[in-house]
Symmetry: C2
Subunit: 135 residues, 2 copies
């Protein structure tokens, strides 16, 4: 009995068009699928980033072949961190695209994180290296 990985990470955004533009154009993620007004799903490494409109998923039951997908959805600013290659190029890329860098943090081991926001206000973080020694 083992959990291999988190295969789906979720954030919430009420404006999915804005989210799609940001995550495909600025973060260069590949959109896998979407449903207007409900969700937009992106591939991210060996996992998926799912962005849901909480006004939809909190209230409307969805079914797959008659099986029920449980309700979920939250309000407020979520947070996720991305491990990136070419960290400093990404940082410049954000600035070039007028994405405000909210904070830059240097961790005790010397690695750096850059924090910024998606259009919905979720706190996103680019991490320079494997700060958690996970590999």
């Amino acid at each position: 009995m083992k959990i291999n990985k988190i295969i789906e990470t979720c954030l919430y955004a009420e404006n999915l068009e804005e989210a799609e533009h940001f995550y495909t154009t600025i973060l260069k993620l590949t959109k896998v699928t979407g449903e207007e007004g409900r969700h937009i799903f992106f591939k991210c490494g060996k996992g998926m980033l799912l962005i849901f409109n909480p006004n939809h998923t909190k209230n409307n039951q969805t079914n797959v072949n008659g099986d029920m997908i449980p309700l979920h959805g939250s309000k407020g600013n979520g947070h996720i961190a991305f491990a990136v290659e070419d960290y400093h190029t990404w940082k410049e890329w954000l600035q070039k695209n007028d994405v405000e860098i909210e904070s830059v943090v240097t961790w005790p081991n010397g690695a750096e994180s850059t924090y910024f926001r998606d259009p919905a206000g979720n706190s996103l973080e680019f991490v320079e290296e494997d700060i958690w020694n996970l590999t």
Copy 2:
């Protein structure tokens, strides 16, 4: 310029003691670190699952070596999915531990998902195999 992976996935829970018990005992995740009343962090494969008390992280500025960690925190039910080995054993394990199975979904490709809740009401999902063809 490439995003390698999501290295930190977050959920929110106001009662961190309850969350710690659930995630270590039922989901058998390894706790890496914690701060009473603020957060508890778990290793999960090659990523981290971070559980924050939103009442703390929404309101209280935290600093690392003088650098500012941005505020975040949401209310409502989040969602994440775990890719697991021994899916059917996990399903039995949940039932044996009186974790209510809210729904079982069979996807178009025949793979199955089991949905349940953590004590904070977050919607968790065990996925039988790589339903997204990510490997």
